[in-house]
Symmetry: C2
Subunit: 467 residues, 2 copies
């Protein structure tokens, strides 16, 4: 009999409590066994996936599922390439340093009274994702590595694949014989859509929600739970060409930020241009390059005029209402996720900053300039997870940042911001070691002790609590 949502959540909490005690070695054994078992059961997984693909094909035929979503459902790929990437991902996570048990602060409060701040798992995380079934493996491995219990809610299109993947991983967890039992409920799958809102009410058991899906999904979750949500609904990134922008850098940076992968959250949606660049070779080259890469522009009156009057851009090669058109106010608040970009002229770096802080989504914004003082001002004052100087917004990514993995990108102002790696799944505990120390013995006055507050030096105790 299927468990109720509160039962699933309570089981996850119990598992999370047990996971507080597992060692690095155990986690590594479990991850290695998960890889082996996934490999051993691959035909079963492919068969389940074929079932999902067949059902999905019918949906595509009825126009109820897009071709791109259909493609993402496939777990095998050509020559099992996608599946092998999935397996390699398990090993990659296994090879990352253990994020738990790291000492980040150590203070001697008194003789024999030592305080350590030590990284610890957040506890129970709920991950809600759409379409790509391999996410269930990736997230399970990240949860295990960070000693968290995960409740996984996938899309109904991948129902059969997700069920087999989860069952294989759970039996792999149980199959590893260890001193401390590793809880099977470290990962649990919840399958049907209607459960989302009930899951979002389990704030008694669930410590964090990570939504991986459409803007609508994320916004729905943010608006319907008391549980902290790690993620972002929008990715409205801007790139600003300052008056001293370098003609050899600007066109490439704008084109890369827009066209490298237009559907990504770190692609640029708005191009801000310093007024002094109107009529410049730099702006002509930048816009021509955007046009030549298939980008259509939504322009404010000055840029529209600039294009129309330009011998290069205003020629017959580029057509109004195809390559460019007049912008509306909404264009500056729109995440196009497509080969489309809003353009606006500003009078100063300050105006660019104000525009971004008003219209941006606090994700990643770039200034192109050869004036370091302008760059510093921009990077100080733009309130975003990533502030870039002469670098493409497309670098905003956990792998590119060197985290080895990415849970997602957060535009939150608390906990974790920007691309989030394993560290985002951790919090810390204070561990205090005494010898019968009483607070009443400290204070001002006769016979009272003062606190030492000696820095123990994190490096000397770094691995003290790695198990």
């Amino acid at each position: 009999m299927a468990l109720t949502i509160p039962e699933v959540a309570a089981n996850a909490r119990t598992a999370a409590n047990q996971l507080q005690n597992v060692t690095s070695t155990q986690k590594s054994q479990v991850l290695a066994h998960i890889r082996r078992e996934l490999e051993a059961h691959k035909e079963e997984i492919f068969a389940a996936n074929a079932q999902d693909l067949q059902l999905a094909q019918e949906e595509v035929a009825k126009g109820r599922l897009s071709a791109s979503l259909f493609k993402r459902l496939d777990i095998k790929g050509d020559n099992e390439e996608k599946f092998n990437t999935l397996l390699q991902g398990v090993t990659d996570v296994d090879n990352l340093p253990d994020p738990i048990g790291q000492v980040t602060r150590a203070t001697e409060l008194d003789q024999g009274l030592d305080l350590y701040r030590v990284t610890a798992p957040v506890g129970v995380i709920l991950v809600i994702f759409e379409a790509r079934p391999e996410v269930v493996v990736n997230i399970s491995c990240l949860s295990i590595k960070s000693s968290n219990a995960a409740i996984l809610k996938g899309g109904k299109e991948a129902y059969h694949t997700l069920a087999v993947l989860t069952r294989v991983m759970q039996s792999a967890i149980e199959g590893v014989v260890q001193d401390i039992p590793f809880p099977k409920d470290a990962i649990q799958l919840v399958s049907t859509r209607e459960h989302i809102d009930e899951l979002l009410q389990q704030d008694r058991y669930i410590d964090m929600v990570i939504p991986r899906g459409s803007n609508q999904l994320v916004r729905h979750i943010q608006n319907n739970t008391r549980i902290p949500v790690l993620g972002h609904a929008d990715g409205l990134c801007s790139i600003y060409l300052d008056d001293t922008a370098d003609v050899n850098k600007a066109p490439g940076l704008v084109v890369d930020s827009k066209t490298n992968y237009p559907a990504a959250c770190n692609s640029a949606e708005t191009l801000l241009v310093h007024r002094s660049l109107l009529g410049s070779d730099l702006l002509t080259k930048t816009i021509k390059s955007l046009f030549d890469h298939g980008v259509s522009l939504r322009c404010d009156p000055p840029t529209l005029q600039f294009i129309e009057n330009s011998p290069v851009l205003g020629s017959a090669s580029y057509k109004k209402d195809q390559q460019y058109s007049a912008s509306t106010d909404e264009d500056y608040d729109t995440e196009f996720l497509d080969l489309c970009m809003a353009v606006k002229v500003v009078d100063s770096v300050e105006e660019a900053i104000t525009h971004i802080n008003t219209h941006g989504s606090k994700h990643t914004d770039c200034i192109v300039t050869e004036t370091p003082a302008h760059a510093e001002k921009f990077m100080n004052m733009v309130d975003a997870a990533g502030v870039y100087y002469n670098a493409s917004t497309r670098f905003a990514d956990g792998f590119r940042y060197g985290f080895g993995t990415e849970i997602g990108v957060s535009t939150n102002k608390t906990h974790a911001r920007g691309p989030v790696g394993l560290e985002g799944l951790t919090i810390y505990k204070y561990r205090l070691y005494g010898q019968g120390h009483k607070a009443g013995d400290f204070g001002v006055g006769a016979n009272k002790k003062a606190y030492l507050h000696n820095d123990i030096g994190v490096d000397s105790v770094k691995n003290k609590f790695v198990r």
Copy 2:
């Protein structure tokens, strides 16, 4: 004309954006001037406070305000002692290291492409507090030091005092002539009670809420906002006497944890006792000491029987239903905040851990033992902000931890946990410095570059972004 709540919140956002650019020196100048101006206007402040005290006295007479709340309203103290402490507090915050601009990660992604993770202000914080008017000065200074904009919502009892204190601080901010203007709206006061719920809806502008007040206030806030709340509603701390607890440590630790300041959130509310200690000298001494300090106990059947059968405790000196009585289930979920404690026998450290993870509030819990393996298990598996070994729960405090200040204590599982200092008011930004680097140039294949991911070494660039 008074501003509306959305206007106040929007002004705070504007101020927060400006505050991203202020320097350490400027913040220090502002804090020093605030201290001077508070001192210069002390008679005016005392006069406003006298007004509040007079109105409050009438409320006390009518039985609508408690004597202890009345006492906390006074800002002057004997010989202006309380006021001088307030002034010293401004200087103490000024003397703390700047929490903003600290590099916490630095990676060379490619030649000329350097990534820095740098601490940044959270943005706009809303602080809701009750009674003690000096909190407004303390929080304002902490916000300024951490470059945040603060909206301050105090209790109506301190209306006149808060108004004068805020006005003096705002004009002190404006009075400091600086290159970069320091925004007056860095601190704003909101006064009347009915504004709380409207403030809690300003998630578009406000990044974090910090409630400082009763459990009811905190719970109301947690239940009525989408803004992240930093704090704790309950402080249900436990102390567990393990089978090898030391007779020379246990009684003192239990008494200190319970009686040092019973109304504090870090006082112990539940005493868990290993069954093998029934009949022991240690338990007799511990309970006798609690009785002698005026603590009454709510006992489970085994401890009740132990007390009644004890020649010392069961004697006429200690009376049933005065010093001790039978416990109810609710007693183990109750934060007494008084000289009262629930007692329960457990069979093992595992049972103690399970009890605490079920009934505790994830604040601070202690094990008294001479078996280090039990201590490690307890400290690993108890899911609390503080896990203590032979040390009083009363050490859970920002000053005692050596943070120099305390915003509050958090039982959250994200962002900040345990006693929170200035660091809890910060998040970080990723600053990426490139030279025209495009993401499309990296990847697998011919002519593609690989990321270097060289650790730059945080120490070598620690102060690179301190302004």
